[in-house]
């Protein structure tokens, strides 16, 4: 059994610290059950996501204690999460210590892209899994040993449905949508927009070529979450990225830390 969290075999997912050794996990747990007779009702009254939520709060406490801004980036596949991170890590290099956890079903392709920017990165491969959970983050962070006053980006598996249910211990959830998607996505996949605090609208350099309305997407998103903030960017042209960088700086109370 894992001494830290008591986890049993999580055989379908694996964590790779890019540029370091692999972190493998293979434990097993067995229970013996004594037999007796007679019916008993146990009032369990337990949230199904209780274990995940406990680990998420544990992660959150760790991040708070070290003043680490942990952000959970969620979106459909292909909306530009990794490109946004590449630009951000390159443009803001030296301003904060940055760390990235990449979540994908297979391959270290995204982590390799992040590694190329000189940022410490861990790749979580979920295997068949469609989302990251707090337990995976716990182990990824253990391997990274982030310093204080850092920014940790957690790039979730590209999926607008499942990751909405799983708290990772992040400070804020950032949902990314690109203008090549439908502007009605916020009401087609409301859970993700309901649980996010910031919506980044990416690829705005393509607006002249696609039938995407900024007004419509914002209005739909506000139906689900009236408090949602928006930042419009293009990772290709760089337009709007300063607004995103400003948002990040305002979220980390301490600056000049490197």
């Amino acid at each position: 059994m894992c001494a830290t969290c008591g986890c049993d075999a999580n055989a379908s997912s694996s964590i790779k610290h890019i540029g370091e050794h692999d972190h493998g996990h293979d434990h097993s747990q067995h229970h013996d059950h004594p037999h007796s007779h007679g019916k008993t009702i146990i009032e369990v009254e337990k949230d199904v996501l209780h274990e995940n939520n406990l680990l998420a709060q544990r992660n959150r406490g760790y991040f708070d204690a070290k003043n680490i801004l942990a952000l959970n980036l969620v979106s459909s596949p292909g909306s530009g999460k990794t490109s946004l991170l590449e630009r951000t890590l390159t443009d803001m290099k030296g301003e904060f210590p940055f760390y990235v956890i990449e979540g994908d079903q297979q391959t270290t392709r995204d982590a390799d892209r992040i590694h190329a920017t000189g940022t410490k990165v861990a790749q979580i491969n979920t295997g068949k899994g469609c989302h990251l959970d707090a337990h995976m983050i716990l182990h990824a962070v253990q391997g990274m040993k982030p310093v204080e006053n850092a920014i940790l980006f957690i790039e979730n598996v590209g999926n607008l449905v499942c990751p909405a249910m799983f708290d990772l211990g992040e400070k804020e959830r950032v949902v990314i949508i690109s203008v090549t998607e439908g502007d009605d996505k916020p009401i087609k996949y409301p859970d993700m927009f309901h649980t996010s605090t910031l919506c980044i609208i990416n690829k705005i350099d393509l607006l002249p070529y696609v039938p995407f309305s900024l007004d419509k997407v914002k209005s739909y998103a506000r139906q689900v979450n009236p408090a949602l903030e928006f930042i419009e960017v293009s990772c290709t042209s760089g337009e709007g990225l300063s607004g995103w960088y400003q948002w990040l700086k305002e979220k980390v109370p301490v600056t000049e830390t490197v």
Partner: protein, 113 residues
């Protein structure tokens, strides 16, 4: 298909509760699943059939209580049935709504012997 992870978490909770007791079998498990919890019941039932094989829940009766969504309008304080997250308050048409019910995803009870 996060429903499979949800079923695995339920299985984990049930087996831990059973291990704490002196019983050997789970006869019945009662769940509460809210309308806005993000669970697709068809996917959930499919995942259940596969996941409980050769476990303590394989022969247990599964009783699911569905909890309808309910919202509270923060503008006019109307309480109303909420079936979608994006629908406005039916009285004043505003979107500042707090969810009162519908997000539940709980193991309520087990019957063991």
């Amino acid at each position: 298909m996060h429903e499979l992870s949800i079923v695995m978490s339920i299985l984990d909770i049930a087996e831990k509760e059973l291990a704490k007791s002196n019983a050997a079998h789970i006869e019945e498990i009662e769940l509460e699943i809210g309308e806005l919890s993000g669970i697709d019941m068809q996917a959930f039932d499919f995942a259940w059939q596969q996941a409980v094989k050769s476990t303590k829940l394989e022969t247990a009766d599964k009783i699911v209580t569905h909890i309808p969504g309910e919202g509270l309008c923060m503008d006019c304080e109307t309480v109303f049935p909420m079936h979608e997250l994006y629908k406005p308050c039916p009285v004043c048409g505003h979107h500042f709504i707090t969810l009162l019910k519908g997000k539940e995803l709980r193991v309520k009870s087990l019957v063991i012997n």
